[in-house]
């Protein structure tokens, strides 16, 4: 029984380790779609990023990373800063 339990824990642990992140960044100043294009273009140049979505209404930038890869908060803030915006909060889900 202990072996089965251990195997299940290991499998779930490995799955979590290689899963992709969905990162939601709440951004201030993001009011213009023309300007916000820079966010999309900036994140798409990052090798860790699979997809990015800009939601002006909810002031959200949603970033999906590739399997087993992630972006840390400081890099997200730097990239959004380079695009001209301020990050208010970053939330993550696997």
């Amino acid at each position: 029984m202990k072996k089965y339990l251990l195997t299940i824990i290991v499998i779930f642990g490995l799955a979590a380790a290689v899963s992709a992140d969905t990162i939601k960044a709440t951004v201030n100043g993001m009011v213009c779609g023309f300007c916000a294009t820079g966010i999309e273009k900036t994140f798409k140049t990052q090798t860790e990023v699979r997809a990015v979505n800009v939601d002006l209404e909810n002031k959200l930038v949603t970033i999906q990373t590739k399997q087993g890869q992630t972006l840390d908060d400081s890099k997200i803030k730097k990239l959004l800063g380079n695009a001209g915006y301020s990050v208010v909060a970053v939330a993550r889900q696997k």
């Binding site: 779609g33 023309f34 294009t37 820079g38 900036t42 939601d55 002006l56 209404e57 001209g84 208010v88």
Partner: protein, 211 residues
């Protein structure tokens, strides 16, 4: 050619240089190409944003309406201050350029600087831009422009954005001191287009593409 005539043309030229730009900066690594077509001729300009607060560009204009002037001017754009607010963004920019104007075999030096203050939300747009032009030690000129805009509907990122705008220009050195131009602006993702009709009976057509 009279210095004042050249100055007026330069003033008009430079005053239209940033009309169609949503901002004089984009994102780091971003390039913008703009064209303006108005009563003074045809302008094409491009800038490259190399830091979050700086862009460098080139400006080329072919004058029309009997004044066959060709202009080539580097320009340097700087973000002086930005306010990123929950429902809006405010900015103060400086744009400065120095270059040459070619007219009837003569090259004329020119120098200009401008400040652009704007505030934009998803519903409202306001901007004010004073511009100063120096033509050597002969004459100085000042020009100013203000714009107000309203979005009739709130568009999201992937939608066609529409703005109804009203622009007022004050050119103390020109015959028409004040020119009022109602215009409509459309943009979709990286494409911006606007068209207006001024009180001086000239059509304004501008576009911008961001890469």
């Amino acid at each position: 050619m009279k210095t004042t005539t050249l100055l007026t043309l330069l003033l008009t030229t430079f005053s239209t240089a940033l009309v169609s730009k949503a901002k004089p900066l984009s994102y780091v690594g971003g390039t913008m190409v703009m064209q303006e077509n108005d009563e003074t001729g045809h302008t094409i300009s491009s800038d490259y944003t190399f830091t979050p607060t700086n862009a460098f560009g080139l400006y080329i204009k072919q004058e029309e309406n009997g004044k066959d002037i060709f202009m080539l001017t580097p320009e340097f754009n700087t973000l002086l201050k930005r306010w990123n607010l929950p429902d809006g963004q405010g900015n103060i920019f400086n744009m400065t350029g120095a270059g040459l104007a070619h007219y009837r075999g003569n090259n004329q030096p020119c120098l200009w600087t401008a400040f652009l203050a704007d505030y934009e939300s998803r519903r409202w747009f306001f901007s004010y831009e004073p511009r100063f032009v120096w033509d050597g030690n002969i004459e100085k000129s000042v020009w100013q422009r203000a714009r107000i805009g309203i979005a009739p509907y709130l568009a999201n990122y992937n939608d066609l954005n529409t703005w109804i705008m009203f622009q007022v220009d004050h050119h103390p050195a020109k015959h028409d001191h004040f020119v009022a131009t109602p215009l409509i602006r459309f943009f979709y993702k990286t494409y911006l287009f606007e068209v207006g009709y001024g009180s001086n009976q000239h059509i304004m057509v501008n576009w911008t593409i961001q890469f």
